[in-house]
Subunit: 319 residues, 2 copies
């Protein structure tokens, strides 16, 4: 099924060899045909590596918080991986942009591996390559792997959903406005971090958040709320304590592994499914663009093509 | 190809009969098998109806701005449709939640049709049903149709991408923090609205935004920046002026129509593709859950299943 000359790369990634890791990450990002085979060989559902998503509005101090978390985990000797997802950036690879510069204090530490992922590929590609980058960093021995997103795009939402624990980072300043926030938004975060707790407005922020959480439906998970100052480091220990609590409590190991596996499979079904549908359209109309031409000429509609996709596949499945 | 008893519903939607419109919206949302046929009959790429996306962080005053825009367009006699997308809400249909209550001043106006879309269906379903709701409101004669999103989820990002013009709404308060915002985020908005311009901090917000826009790559579209106060109504006229300018200038009618058609087709390819891939997995392994079991048992990997999907489809396409 697979070509064989990828064994060396796989071996070196599993040994944690960073130059090979960087090379394989680029192969994944560039959609190299061998990358699928490498991912197949490297994948191990039983691998224990915590994935932490860090999300929140721009300016919430996500990078500074990430930086603090790196420091905390480095202090206990863990190798920490960071994937900084920024769909709006045309850069990727080693590029550290904007506020990510703050993470550079860790850039020379061999126990920390930081990778930025930008929108190099086509639509939907970023979600897939970030999903795979996560697995690769875990395979190379990084635990935890932090995925920091700028929090606005489709790819980032998909990626955040792969994380075992997601931190929703909020700050005072949007304080008096949070009460209009839909309670449900809060459900994105397994833990809500009130960052910049040294600032004015932190009390209003906390009471607004608490009021929003009150509106959650009966029986739904109420995320713990932790005050934090990435600047001073206050609250970081409490935050990691809450994370450990979640991991040992609500989220047992088996269900975490099953959940992540299911999400990875779903993500691959979406990616491959899009290709399968496009190929049917191409076989029938020549190209997607030509199908659009026919729609604009009134010969068919996107919904008619949808029915065709359902029917075509049903008839083939019956072969 | 289609059953025929949907003609009556189609006719009534095209006449703008709101009770039928509401019924068909529910059919679409519930995934009624007849809804695909109705959408096919109703679809007209040449239909002229402006779609305006309103997005931004929680608390930016999106609903109040939407309310002002409704008032403005009602003043010139246009029928205005509003789709309020909230993936975190278990409610849909007529439900007006949280800050959307502010729109109720227009709820009794027969020239305004407001519909909330919540996460009733399965994953990915909301994007599809909102896409179709947009077409239905346009078919019923609403022009413009405003799509307001809470701005955090995958479905919302997908939906926002269907809009002809997207307004990114920002407010002072996150002011001193916007400089850390990635310039690229700005590219989401065709127009950047600085809302609550009556507030302190508006000048800092504007200079931060301007500084961020400076960082955009050469030759990329620099969105106009408009100050606005939804509270007083100041700036609304300037905002709609900028929208008209965009429509008559950069965005010519043909390219708008082609763009929207392509996006709708892409959205349908994703939806159907996911089903096609799932059916292949079900045919091979019994169910998705059973495939996950096999992965957890180490018999295959999600990537191995990915290769299988590519191969299976390639062989069938060759029949």
């Amino acid at each position: 099924m697979f070509p064989r000359d990828t064994g060396l790369l796989v071996g070196k990634v599993l040994q944690g060899e960073t130059r090979t890791l960087a090379r394989v990450l680029s192969m994944v990002e560039n959609g190299d045909p061998l990358s699928e085979s490498i991912m197949h060989d490297i994948y191990d559902p039983a691998r224990r590596s915590l994935t932490v998503g860090v999300t929140g509005p721009p300016g919430a101090g996500k990078s500074t918080l990430t930086c603090r978390l790196i420091g905390y985990w480095r202090g206990s000797g863990r190798k920490v991986g960071v994937i900084a997802v920024d769909p709006s950036s045309p850069f990727s690879g080693g590029a550290l942009l904007g506020d990510r510069v703050r993470m550079q204090e860790h850039a020379s530490d061999p126990g920390v591996f930081i990778r930025s992922m930008g929108s190099r590929g086509h639509l939907g590609g970023l979600a897939g390559s970030t999903r795979d980058a996560l697995e690769l960093l875990a395979a190379a021995g990084y635990d935890p792997v932090i995925v920091e997103t700028v929090g606005v795009g489709q790819a980032e939402v998909e990626v955040a959903s792969l994380a075992d624990i997601t931190l929703l980072v909020l700050v005072p300043g949007m304080g008096d406005e949070v009460q209009t926030m839909k309670a449900g938004i809060m459900e994105i975060g397994d833990i809500i971090v009130l960052n910049k707790a040294d600032r004015q407005g932190i009390d209003q922020l906390e009471s607004s958040v608490m009021a929003s959480l009150e509106l959650l439906p009966e029986g739904s998970h109420r995320p713990p709320v932790v005050r934090c100052s990435s600047l001073t480091g206050d609250g970081i220990e409490e935050l990691t304590g809450e994370m450990d609590g979640l991991l040992s409590g609500i989220l047992d190991r088996d269900s975490l592994v099953r959940r992540r596996t299911t999400l990875i499979l779903e993500s691959i079904l979406r990616e491959k499914g899009r290709h399968m549908a496009a190929r049917v359209v191409e076989a029938r109309f020549g190209s997607i663009e030509r199908a659009v031409d026919l729609i604009l000429d009134g010969k068919t509609t996107p919904y008619g093509i949808g029915v065709l996709l359902s029917e075509e596949h049903a008839s083939k499945a019956g072969d």
